[in-house]
Structure formats: C-alpha cells, structure tokens
C-alpha cells in the first residue's frame, strides 16, 4: 500500500468541501497517481452537512468508500463529531479551529491539527477561501501530492468565469501549508 492515502472532507454545504475534494482528486491525477472521488449526494447536499471521500494511491484502488479513514478535514463541529471517532489510530485530523473548539480534538489517539481557516482566509480578503486554507494544511501534513500540483490544478476545477480568483486561492493554499509547517 505504498503511498496510499484516503481522506474524508466534511463541512456545511457552501463551505466548498466538494470543491477541495475535487481539487485534491485532480491534483492526484496530474501527479500520475490513481484516485477516486466519491461525493455524498442527495438530500444531505441541501442545507445540512456535505462530505466527500478521496482515495489516492500508486496502486490501483479497491474501495472508494472508506468507513475508517486515515485522515479527516473537519470544517465544522458536526463533521468532527460524526467522523473523528472513525479515523484510524494515529490518523491525521485537520480541524477548522475558527469554528470548532479544539478541546473536542482527540489528541490521545490522533494527530489533530487546528487551523484557524476562516481567520486566515479573512486576513487574505475572503472568508470563502477557508476551504483552500484547509486543503493547503492537509497537503502539507500528508505530502499526498506536491503543493505545487495542488495550486496548478486550481485552473482545472475553478470555472473560467472565476479565473481571476485563482491567485488569491493559491495564496490561501500557501497560508494553510505555512500554518502547519513545523
């Protein structure tokens, strides 16, 4: 299972968790790896929580559905409550500490990393980029793909109408990575 990584990305609908899941999937493909991206779709997409599962591997990928993930990006409290207990021992949990009390992090069992994603995004001019801060932190912590490939893949997942937003999103990804760099 060399180079195998999987992650559940979860948050409120509207926080852009599907977008950063897609971004990670695209970057993994551009990096020459195998990847699956599975969204939770249907009623859950309207209003409540949204989540997707991304699996990245040098080997061909079996299950795209992961009950016990190696990693979690929790953008809000319900996501942490729901998925943190399922993360494998020693797994990595990126927590949006702008919205989630870090006392809830299971530090004994997991590598939990708080990132004030909303504040960082705010300081860069747009709270909506909190998702990019979080994916930057996750990629820095796991090295699942090079940070440069994540940034280069923005062009693939952001529609041309919003191309002018790409430089700011690149900065947000960098800021997320800087926030967790040891």
């Amino acid at each position: 299972m060399s180079g195998y990584q999987d992650v559940i990305v979860a948050g409120f609908g509207g926080q852009g968790v599907m977008l950063i899941g897609t971004l990670l999937a695209y970057a993994a493909m551009e990096d020459g790896q195998n990847v699956t991206y599975l969204p939770v779709y249907g009623p859950e997409m309207r209003g409540g929580t949204a989540n997707c599962t991304v699996v990245v591997s040098r080997e061909d990928i079996g299950s795209p559905i992961i009950r016990l993930p190696k990693s979690l990006i929790a953008m809000n409290r319900p996501s942490l409550d729901k998925f943190q207990p399922r993360v494998k021992d020693g797994g990595t949990v990126v927590i949006n500490s702008s919205l989630v009390d870090m006392d809830l992090a299971d530090n004994d069992r997991l590598r939990t990393v708080g990132v004030p994603a909303n504040e960082i995004a705010d300081s860069l001019g747009n709270t909506k980029m909190a998702n990019m801060v979080a994916i930057g932190a996750y990629v820095q912590l796991t090295s699942v793909v090079p940070l440069e490939v994540i940034k280069a893949s923005l062009r693939k997942v952001i529609s041309p109408n919003y191309a002018k937003m790409i430089p700011a999103n690149e900065k947000a990804i960098h800021a997320g990575a800087d926030a967790v760099r040891g």
């Binding site: 299972m1 897609t22 999937a25 695209y26 493909m29 195998n34 990847v35 699956t36 991206y37 599975l38 969204p39 779709y41 249907g42 990928i61 079996g62 299950s63 795209p64 559905i65 992961i66 009950r67 016990l68 693939k156």
Partner: protein
C-alpha cells in the same frame, strides 16, 4: 468529442456518455431518474451540438420504444434509466430481443424494491441477466467496476449490439455513476450514415425488396426455427465473456463479486492478504455471458468460494451452477440501503475460510 489518449477526471455517468459519443451513438432517448440524471443532462447538451438526436421522452416506456425505432433503422442508439425506470422498459427490450435489434440500455441501478432509495444496489441482477421482460431471451450484460471500464464497456456494448444484433445492457450502480476517477479516452468513431444498408435495417426501400422487422411468428414452425436460431446466437456469445481475476492462483478461497462490490471486496482481500490469509477475487465483468467456464476451472483446482453481492443473493445462483461439479459457494448479502465498506466483508470472508474469531 474526445482527444485520443487524453486523461480526464470524470464521473461514471459522464464516462458512459463520453464512451457512447465516442462510439458513434447517434440517438439518445431518456426520462429523468436519480442516480443516472447526469447521463441525459450531458447528452442533452452534447448530442445536439454534434448534429445528433437527444429526446426527453414522455415516459420510460416511450423512450424504450423510440430506441426500438432507431435501432430498426440501423443507427447506434441508446437509452438509460435506473431500476424502476428499467422495469418500465422491459416490454420493448423483449421486443428488441425478439426482433434482433441492436440497442444499448444503461441501468445505473438504485435501492429497491419499488422506489427504494437513490443509493447503490445490485438488486437488478436477475432482471438484467435472466431477461426482465416476457418471453425467453437473453441480453448481453456488462458490469463496469471502474469509471475507466464504464467508458470502455459502453463502447464495447455498441460493438456487441451490432455484432449479435441484440440488446446489450450496461449495469452499474450509484457508486459507479457518481464516483469520479481518471479515464484515458480513446478515439472517436464516426457515426454510421443512416442511409447505410446493413442488410436488415429499414432505411427506405428504394429499388430493393421490402423488409419486415418483427417479433411475431405465426406460420407453422416459424417461431420454433426462430428460437433455435436465437438459442444458437446466445450460446455463441460465450466467446465474448469478460472477467478479472485477482490473486486467485494460490488462493484457498475465491470471493466472487461484480461491479462496485468487486472492487470494495478487493480492498478487504488486500487487508486479509497482509495478515497471511489466502484469499483471491474473481470479478465477472460480463454477467451474460457468465464466466462459468473460468469458475469451473477454478473449482476443479480445489478452490472454495464465497459470493458477495449487494442484494439478497442473485448471482450466487449462477456461481453455484458454474462450479456444481466440484464445489459450492457460500454467500454474503449486504442489503441495499446501506453503503458497503471493506470492513463489512471481513467477517464473512474469515467465516468462509473457517477462521474462528
């Protein structure tokens, strides 16, 4: 259309569309139902822009009969739906089988019975493989396990439909339909000219003898002769059997599972292999023709079997028939309404191996 060799990240539903477009599909007839709605959505945008036909029919029954009409003209045509909608198409599928028309039907199946839910299920295996409509017929059934296979198999479906002049079903589920994976695209086939004479299609009589395409045979002996010919055709499909074996050579136990369940079981098998359990996977890709000969071969070499499905137990009957001279198969059914994960299959596999836990 696609650029050959291009690698794209797309959903299974989109892969089916791009495969169909690249295979030269000229007509799509559909009616909305989740989880296959991405297919008519994509086709409604792309086919008209290529000068081809997209029709949102007034019902599934109408869509299937429009497909029958297009197939009778000898063009590459398809419909898609999900379980309850596929039930409504069965009458036309039976007529197309009886009339020997080449048509492609996609079922991105959902939980049942009835309206069930919009999640994945393999509850339509019997309907797909045993002939869900009336009468005594077979359709080729291809079950992709990856998004790449969804792209490749829809292309193959069109080729097989015309090679055998027979309906072909591509059977996926909500996992295959909604998941994104990288796909390497192939070359685009130019659609058949509607005026092309295939020797049987209806394209305007002109100076030749009239043709009649029908499934009604009332004259003495006509239906018997027709059915003997159909049987011989169905038997000849054996040469197009498709399957994927994974770590079967030294396996004591072979898990038999198709589609998305096959790949989920693969993760379980990898994890169990890491702890020394000798387990392999046989994944039928063509469900009709069924890989009976290969399963018989594996059974003859002393393997034991566990069939895993996302239903009450359907394909397991075909597995048992295939291996009956040498072995039997245990069964584990994960019921629709629950998303299956690799962990769900661990205990059933260990139990079939005879490991006490």
């Amino acid at each position: 259309m696609s650029t050959t060799g291009e690698r794209v990240l797309i959903k299974g539903n989109e892969a089916i569309c791009r495969g169909a477009v690249d295979a030269g599909c000229q007509c799509f007839f559909g009616y909305p139902i989740t989880p296959q709605n991405d297919i008519p959505e994509y086709m409604s945008k792309v086919l008209p822009s290529l000068g081809r036909a997209f029709v949102q029919a007034e019902s599934e029954v109408a869509a299937a009969n429009m497909l029958l009409g297009a197939a009778a003209c000898g063009v590459r045509a398809m419909t898609s739906s999900s379980s309850p909608g596929i039930s409504l198409k069965q009458e036309a599928i039976s007529y197309m089988a009886g009339t020997e028309l080449p048509a492609v039907i996609v079922n991105i199946s959902r939980g049942g019975p009835g309206l069930g839910d919009i999640g994945p299920s393999q509850g339509d295996y019997f309907q797909a493989v045993k002939g869900g409509g009336h009468g005594d017929y077979r359709q080729l059934v291809l079950a992709p396990g990856t998004v790449q296979e969804a792209y490749d198999l829809i292309r193959k479906a069109f080729d097989l439909a015309f090679a055998y002049r027979n309906p072909v079903m591509v059977l996926g589920d909500a996992i295959i339909g909604q998941m994104m994976e990288p796909v390497t695209l192939g070359s685009a086939t130019t659609p058949t000219n509607v005026d092309q004479d295939l020797g049987w299609n209806l394209q305007g009589k002109g100076q030749r003898h009239p043709r009649l395409l029908k499934s009604l045979h009332l004259t003495d002996g006509a239906l018997a002769g027709h059915n003997i010919r159909l049987r011989d055709k169905y038997e000849s499909m054996e040469r197009d059997v498709l399957f994927d074996n994974f770590l079967v050579d030294d396996a004591e136990l072979i898990v038999v599972a198709f589609g998305s369940i096959g790949r989920i079981a693969k993760s379980t098998i990898r994890a169990l292999r890491a702890s020394g359990k000798k387990v392999g996977l046989h994944r039928p890709i063509s469900l009709f023709p069924f890989p009976s000969q290969e399963l018989d071969r594996l059974a003859a070499s002393g393997k034991r079997f566990l069939t895993i499905e996302h239903n009450l137990g359907q394909m397991v009957e075909d597995v048992r028939l295939a291996i009956r001279k040498h072995a039997d198969s245990d069964f584990y059914g994960h019921l629709p309404g629950n998303l299956p994960t690799p962990e769900d299959f661990e205990q059933p596999i260990l139990a079939a191996l005879g490991v006490r836990t």
